[in-house]
Symmetry: C2
Subunit: 241 residues, 2 copies
């Protein structure tokens, strides 16, 4: 029997219309839709593609054993996550060998901080894979903010907020535009780094870009106790002339 195909599908920032035509087509071709979620959550990626899910689809939840927040030290976190990816890759392998096409969906883009890449590394040698890029929040947040990210000779840095404050300052200082990802409890550190880099007045907080409960605020007006993981800080470029 022919093996099934694996689709790694980026479904964009949340608006079901910001899914690509190619993503919709491969969701239709999939027998199984697998979606990563935190414990007890529905998952933004699944919510995004609900208009495209039919009764013929088998749904598999890939539930993370931990979130990065509570298990801060990488000595505990990384081995737990590695085992999770190993185990779930084995489950999917069994289905692919039965000839089932599996779509692993992820919010944003699969190859920019996307979980899909860990399954890709485990399965793409053995099975035919099709990776479909998605609208990352790097693109969606500036659009919702109404300010272009970069033009002419701008340099953009995409920075994870999990870096140290010094590293954040260094990266912010070396670029003209920036997007800071992986926010949450890291937010006070990010604000300190923005102040040290002299960028606190140019930075915007964009939460849940394109979702119904989207919030946009200047960074200095944000309550640090109410920062969502699905949010980014954007430092846009100057207004194009």
């Amino acid at each position: 029997m022919a093996k099934g195909q694996l689709y790694g599908i980026g479904v964009g920032p949340g608006d079901p219309e910001l899914v690509t035509v190619k993503a919709v087509k491969h969701i239709e071709k999939a027998d199984i839709i697998a979606f990563p979620t935190a414990k007890g959550a529905t998952g933004n990626a699944k919510r995004t593609i609900e208009p495209y899910i039919t009764k013929a689809h088998q749904l598999i939840s890939l539930t993370y054993p931990v979130t990065a927040g509570p298990v801060a030290d990488s000595q505990t976190y990384l081995p737990l996550m590695k085992k999770f990816y190993d185990d779930t890759a084995q489950e999917m392998k069994a289905e692919l060998l039965k000839g089932k096409n599996i779509a692993i969906i992820c919010a944003g883009d699969p190859f920019i901080f996307g979980s899909y890449m860990y399954w890709h590394a485990r399965l793409s040698d053995e099975f035919e894979t099709i990776v479909i890029p998605g609208i990352s929040s790097i693109l969606a947040a500036p659009v919702e903010l109404g300010k272009p990210l970069c033009h002419r000779e701008d340099v953009v840095s995409i920075i994870p907020a999990t870096l140290s404050e010094d590293q954040l300052v260094e990266n912010l200082t070396n670029s003209t535009s920036a997007v800071i990802m992986k926010l949450g409890r890291t937010f006070p550190k990010v604000v300190n780094a923005l102040k040290k880099a002299g960028l606190e007045d140019k930075a915007y907080y964009v939460e849940r870009a394109t979702m119904q409960n989207q919030r946009i605020l200047p960074v200095l007006e944000v309550d640090p106790t109410k920062v969502a993981y699905f949010s980014v800080v954007v430092i846009p470029c100057q207004t194009p002339e």
Copy 2:
């Protein structure tokens, strides 16, 4: 009479299926499709959305008066481009005032080095605008290369090749992953910078990602006389574990 709406539509890297559902919907709602092109060229953005253009659409070509290549000095280039954006914005304003909906399409994403932003700056105060993000080559090139761009604590730099060699080296040294855009005659300088940063063996050249004539090569195997503008250099992250 009601004014028309302005749509700034990113149509992605070239594959007509990598257009979003929202983009297709707004191409359908547009009376006029305006597309930027170089003199004598068809324009990649127009070619990308050909399956969605109907006979009811009026097409307007926005032909750049110069390309960045031949007019290298910004003292000549910038005023010519400013006049071009001013004049064409006036033309579009006349149509918007007649109640026509205009879609300005651009390759990739409108707010990441996209020409649309210059018309947006001139027209968005007066007319209702809807900006639709598109799959930038920043996302499409790593997917075609088959290598994730960033994971965990990676920092990505998006760098225009028009910077000086020293600036290129500095930005490459400060990041773990990178995408270098605006290639062409800048290519030998980029290769020198990659060598100085010790990254020449980790860098890939991705030309016309997702188009039919796509080419992917290690940077050191590229003939610098045959480098297309629609290409990027990608330095992907390490394989996820």
